[in-house]
Symmetry: C3
Subunit: 136 residues, 3 copies
């Protein structure tokens, strides 16, 4: 099993594509037929696999999360870190902390329109850690 940690710097909220970084680590693993597991070590940033062809899909997705898990809702009590604190946890809970992607022919077996994204929920820049495992 190949083990690696990815460090991703996020400039602010939204979907940041990391497909290339993950493809590179799969190459380094030397695995041709297997599985790649990603785990993000945070509760205010998450993982999501989404369409990567048209940026309007990512923007609409962020806008939608802003409506279903808004900032400044009167019911929130967990607000110590600001108005983006609790919405971050909500958005993390309904997206993914870990993703598993098959490896075939030495490459990530993503569909034609699929990209792997780090979904940053906090307003300020953050350094995020993703633990990767690739095995055959």
């Amino acid at each position: 099993m190949h083990s690696e940690t990815l460090i991703i710097d996020t400039p602010g909220p939204g979907l940041h594509e990391i497909s290339r970084e993950v493809a590179d680590l799969v190459s380094r693993s030397g695995v041709t037929e297997g599985l790649c597991s990603l785990f993000i070590q945070h509760t205010s940033a998450s993982l999501v696999i989404q369409e990567n062809a048209d940026p309007s899909a990512s923007r609409d997705l962020e806008e939608w999360f802003g409506r279903i898990a808004p900032e400044n809702h009167s019911s929130y009590t967990h607000t110590a870190e600001g108005p983006d604190d609790m919405p971050s946890h909500l958005r993390s809970a309904v997206t993914q902390t870990s993703e598993q992607i098959p490896v075939a022919g030495g490459r990530l077996a993503l569909g034609t329109w699929q990209g792997i994204f780090l979904f940053e929920h906090r307003r300020l820049p953050h350094r995020r850690k993703i633990i990767a495992r690739v095995w055959s």
Copy 2:
């Protein structure tokens, strides 16, 4: 590791149970104690494990997604493929692109009421690909 691709034809939107297809591939793998990983190569169809005893649970689930991620919301800009385009991505983002199910005694270790479903989000019939891996 046993590798296989499942091809599933969906007649239209909703939850389509694929438990039998997955059980068959676990049989073919010959694995008795291990794990089965499923990955759907699409961003407008997803995977979900749900109650499979009473069809009313699936219908209510679809109805609920129609309310929280409706068609024709005024905020959508990603509409090139029609009114079911953006809701498909939203529903995929909050359900699963991959599922991992344990194998025990040569069979899927699902709970009594659990079924594995392909959740089709598009209105028209589609051919969907699921990459499977089974290992011990």
Copy 3:
């Protein structure tokens, strides 16, 4: 591959932390570098990785699910087991049936603020089964 079943008794609805139980089973597995997979065999309880430092985050999360997937919605038809029946399935569908957590240095590689939670959706006490696999 190390196989084990965790039995967790839940006293009622909400997030119940199981990080210690999972840490103990990773110790028993003897795996130092690998992956731990958890699968809950139910459709009315699920898994979620969330902040475990401040209980207000868990309370706000439960309150939010009470708003987006409420009891007693007029559209529900799947109500045979009571007002908490259908909301349980909805909350399960958008959180996790399985979680994969890396193991490093013989321990779960969780982030500083991450805890593993069983998210009980039913009002009455329940006995829940989680199938675990740990491998290197």
